[in-house]
């Protein structure tokens, strides 16, 4: 609930600033009309950027992966001995 209130508050602030900018005519009117589109594209760009950076700096742990594979093999062996079939399909 609080998260929605926070997001709504942010939206209301941004629209208030935008309408104020339109009314006060500090910059030309056509310029102010383009600002929300620009903000949306900025948001999309930021998301894409975060995804790209996360992909680039994602840590892979080769030792843990090796240990995990060993654990899986051991568990499969144990269960097969007990008679349960765990062939992954």
């Amino acid at each position: 609930m609080k998260h929605i209130v926070k997001i709504l508050g942010l939206l209301v602030t941004i629209s208030a600033i935008w309408i104020g900018l339109l009314q006060a005519s500090i910059v030309s009117s056509s310029y102010a009309w383009l600002l929300p589109v620009y903000l949306i594209i900025l948001l999309g760009c930021y998301g894409l950027f975060m995804v790209g950076v996360g992909l680039m700096f994602f840590p892979t742990c080769p030792q843990e992966s090796h240990l995990l594979q060993k654990d899986i093999a051991e568990a499969k062996d144990f269960l097969k001995r007990k008679g349960i079939d765990v062939n992954s399909d």
């Binding site: 383009l34 760009c45 894409l48 950027f49 790209g52 950076v53 992909l55």
Partner: protein, 80 residues
């Protein structure tokens, strides 16, 4: 495997940065530049600054809904 991931990440980062800088330049800076500056040759007219993102957004929505519909149909066919 990690190199492919890193390459894709790098590609995404460069795409996002280039789109950001081009669009910022287009919408925020170009209106304040004199209209006979040479830089205007590299940018389309400003109506396209709205049409192109709108078109891209609509294309994205269409593609998403088609994909969701396709997946739903495939799962229904498998369970029937």
């Amino acid at each position: 495997m990690e190199l492919a991931d890193k390459a894709v990440g790098f590609l995404l980062t460069t795409i996002s940065l280039s789109i950001f800088s081009y669009y910022t330049f287009w919408v925020l800076i170009l209106p304040f530049v004199d209209s006979d500056h040479f830089i205007h040759m590299y940018f389309l007219s400003r109506e396209y600054a709205i049409i192109i993102p709108l078109f891209a957004g609509i294309t994205l929505l269409c593609f998403l809904s088609m994909f969701i519909g396709y997946v739903m149909l495939k799962s229904k066919k498998k369970s029937a």
